[in-house]
């Protein structure tokens, strides 16, 4: 099994395999929905109703549809104090057009795409002065465990103009620092 040779350039596309994305697997004529990422090289899928015109002749995995919930939650998680909806859209569109190189206009995200999602998540999100943020530490932890278990957030990817708004730690590092602080406090309290 080969290592990704383009890792340094952050061009490896495997990070688009995330819960909720729709993929086409080799030799199959229907799409598969990614339900869980199990390890750095394994993920779980279930059959999806969407039929494909023809199967691919090669052994590649193809992305048919990125995961909206994953991208929104990961981006909001990475923000320090939350994001305005305009900034969130800007970042997501940059990722889709820049990182994914999607040129088609049908994937330009508008407010109507993410408003219903944000409304459905209102119990786990706060909205202060227009800034959407995760409301509770438990929600942050759930996002880390579900979406970042085998991936990391790279603040240098397409977010340069807003780099001041983002955390600098990847989740695993952040978790370790938090655990160290917690242990230190508990030691004095007990």
């Amino acid at each position: 099994m080969a290592l990704c040779h383009r890792r340094k350039d952050y061009e490896c596309r495997v990070h688009h395999i995330e819960p909720g994305s729709l993929v086409l697997l080799p030799g199959e004529t229907s799409a598969s929905l990614v339900v869980h990422v199990c390890s750095e090289s394994e993920f779980e899928v279930v059959d999806h109703a969407q039929a494909i015109d023809c199967s691919t002749g090669d052994s590649k995995i193809y992305l048919l549809r990125p995961s909206l919930a994953s991208k929104v939650l990961k981006t909001i998680w990475a923000s320090k104090e939350g994001l305005r909806i305009t900034k969130l859209l800007d970042l997501l569109n940059k990722e889709l057009t820049g990182d994914l190189c999607v040129q088609s206009e049908n994937l330009k995200l508008e407010q109507q795409h993410i408003h219903p999602l944000l409304a459905a998540m209102h119990r786990m999100m706060s909205r202060n002065y227009g800034l959407f943020n995760l409301v509770h530490e438990s929600v942050c932890r759930a996002v880390e465990n579900w979406y970042f278990a085998f991936s990391s957030y790279r603040p240098d990817r397409a977010h340069f103009p807003f780099s001041g708004c983002f955390r600098t730690h990847v989740p695993l590092q952040r978790k370790r620092v938090a655990e160290q602080n917690c242990a230190w406090v508990h030691k004095f309290m007990a």
Partner: protein
């Protein structure tokens, strides 16, 4: 920092003399053991009026469930006995955030049923959710629902992600989930 709370006792004692009430609230389960720790001793020596608020009682849980359902003009049949289902050795199920998330998610049963046709009864759906004993695990179920319900338009062109090494690794009988291996081991 919590270990240097000596200043808090005198301050609170002064405030209590004015018959004003101060609340120090923590929802951390780990704090239970600190009731006999240094912070508590500092407050106790100052004879502060201390009211411990413990776990959510059955009555409080009932009120909470009914209130959440009432906001969306729903109610739950008494025969369903959700309170009994939540009365469990797992202390995390008494967590107000856990109860709030569970009851709010129950309202989406119709949508969940459409995505998971195997779940036909609300009780099965609730039992399945209750298998997750803490808030982050419960949120995983919600994330799954959101991923299926709120989607982007499909890409016009397929986008190659990498080489598939192994496909169709069946996990267990009766489970529709399959495991797939790809050829890249980078840390993503």
């Amino acid at each position: 920092m919590p270990h240097s709370l000596q200043w808090l006792g005198p301050l609170l004692a002064g405030q209590f003399s004015d018959q004003r009430v101060k609340l120090i609230v923590s929802t951390l389960g780990k704090c239970e053991k600190y009731w006999s720790g240094r912070c508590f001793q500092v407050l106790k020596e100052e004879k502060a009026n201390i009211l411990k608020i413990g776990k959510v009682s059955t009555f409080q849980r009932d009120v909470m469930i009914n209130e959440i359902l009432r906001r969306s003009q729903k109610q739950i049949d008494k025969s369903f006995d959700l309170t009994q289902k939540l009365t469990d050795p797992h202390a995390n199920r008494s967590n107000p955030l856990y109860i709030s998330i569970l009851v709010n998610e129950m309202k989406h049963f119709g949508g969940y049923q459409a995505a998971h046709s195997d779940v036909e009864l609300l009780s099965n759906f609730v039992d399945e959710m209750l298998q997750n004993t803490n808030v982050p695990q419960l949120l995983d179920i919600i994330f799954r629902r959101l991923e299926r319900k709120f989607v982007l338009p499909p890409l016009k062109q397929r986008y190659s992600l990498g080489t598939c090494v192994q496909n169709n690794l069946k996990l267990s009988a009766g489970n529709d989930t399959r495991k797939v291996k790809h050829g890249c081991k980078c840390s993503r």
